[in-house]
Symmetry: C2
């Protein structure tokens, strides 16, 4: 079934993402926002925001609610889903999100404060026993032992899948809810501290000193680093490099908000979202 | 009398200026905003603003009122005055405003959409018979004829002063109120169209074809171009060049909002004001 192509797909439903969305909609663009259940968790927890001009003395949750009301009033389409991979198909973009493939003429990245590795030396072991997608790399670990470290319940399905392939699957949840897993999966508790290994992963040390000997470690459910999402995107100090028009180094890809650098502030995000949204709308019009 | 030094002096009381002010005040800085009677005349006239996230469906006047209420609630000091000249005094700034000299550790320029010359070829004749401060250049025109073109009543005092020096003073008001002037000043009406002269000013042609023969023309009460306000400030296409931290080429001088370039939008201005305010506050702390 041929889907309609969106003019803009916006990753993230925090202040930057919603500001980009309303600005593009005013330009009559077809817009899709991919967001989490909670938009901008750090803002949601903020007790008091007093420096977003025009809305004094608000909690983070209140201000997010105002933003969401504004977006819904403007009929912004928001889907509680996550982009897993974005490919540049010679001028348009193909976004993999769960079982869907979404087409877009332009992309606005507004994914918030950038991903911080869960473990030290994570980048060093990436592709050498450490990965972020168990189902993608699963076949490589047939009849071997793996550890899945998961920031959210989303990791449980991947653990169940791996249980059918691997010799042994350990599952270390970094969230509160009790995991509901295939009986073959062994649930651990504690905090992962260190990757053991020289050139390749040999295990993971937990905070209590216990060492889990595995050949594969998957870290799941954390934010996806933008340059893993869109290959070729240039970062600096973990932030997406943009110019004052919020253009990244990739034509048609814009970025706004905390993912572009400090200060991590609401007004900066809303302002950058506006500029990104207007420029992405213009870019899409020219396609 | 020694005045206390302000940490920030902010030029302009539109969205960018007020956003800079509240953000610097949250950082416990001493802030002064120099603004006009109407903050951001273009926004004040806007019928509907629907793209400032969180405050949907507002008129420009309503949104400005909200912004001003927020600023007053944060005890921002706003003075209805204009900066005429800013000098860098080796690390602090000295701002001439009417009869006052104000000292500041940092400057935020938020003066809005940049000055457009009133007359064609204005820049060409600048210093060759054309000027923006009659009282400054007055002595050069002793016993000569001059024309004062004024965008506001402020020009009347300068015309009266010139009447005591010059042979003949013509006064062309570009505002509605009836001017109240020294009897020696001749009031004209109409629209100035063209500067007459080769290397130096010889006169001014009005729309009805009439030519006023003068050796000096002063254009008063328009916005002051930022690089005339602060010598050495780099502009490009009439806008102040800033980086993503809202720093200009001059240390301690920041700029935000429409004066830094398009899009001329509220959210962009508020976001840039925030970044400029926070960075100017940090700069002032280090002095």
């Amino acid at each position: 079934m041929q889907q309609e192509t969106y003019d803009l797909v916006i990753l993230g439903c925090g202040p930057a993402g919603l500001s980009a969305a309303i600005n593009a909609i005013i330009r009559n663009k077809k817009v899709l926002v991919l967001g989490d259940e909670v938009c901008s968790p750090p803002l949601h927890k903020a007790q008091k925001i007093d420096n977003y001009l025009g809305l004094p003395d608000m909690s983070g949750a209140e201000i997010l609610e105002r933003f969401m009301q504004h977006a819904l009033r403007m009929k912004v389409e928001i889907r509680p889903a996550r982009a897993e991979m974005i490919n540049d198909m010679d001028g348009s973009f193909s976004i993999l999100s769960g079982d869907d493939v979404i087409e877009a003429r332009s992309i606005v990245i507004a994914t918030g404060i950038p991903y911080k590795p869960t473990l030290p030396r994570e980048n060093e072991f990436l592709g050498k026993g450490l990965g972020y997608c168990a189902t993608c790399d699963g076949p490589l670990y047939r009849d071997r032992d793996v550890l899945i470290i998961s920031h959210s319940e989303e990791g449980e399905g991947e653990a169940d899948f791996m249980a059918g392939i691997c010799r042994k699957v350990y599952y270390l949840p970094l969230y509160r809810q009790e995991p509901n897993l295939d009986q073959r999966v062994e649930v651990l508790s504690g905090k992962p501290m260190e990757i053991i290994g020289n050139d390749f992963v040999e295990g993971c040390k937990l905070k209590d000193g216990q060492i889990i000997n595995v050949e594969g470690i998957f870290v799941l459910g954390g934010e996806t680093a933008p340059d893993r999402l869109i290959p070729g995107l240039i970062l600096e100090d973990n932030h997406i490099v943009v110019n004052r028009q919020q253009e990244t180094n990739l034509p048609g890809v814009f970025a706004a908000g905390d993912c572009t650098g400090a200060p991590y502030q609401v007004a900066k995000s809303v302002g950058e979202g506006q500029v990104a949204g207007l420029n992405a709308a213009r870019y899409a019009s020219r396609r």
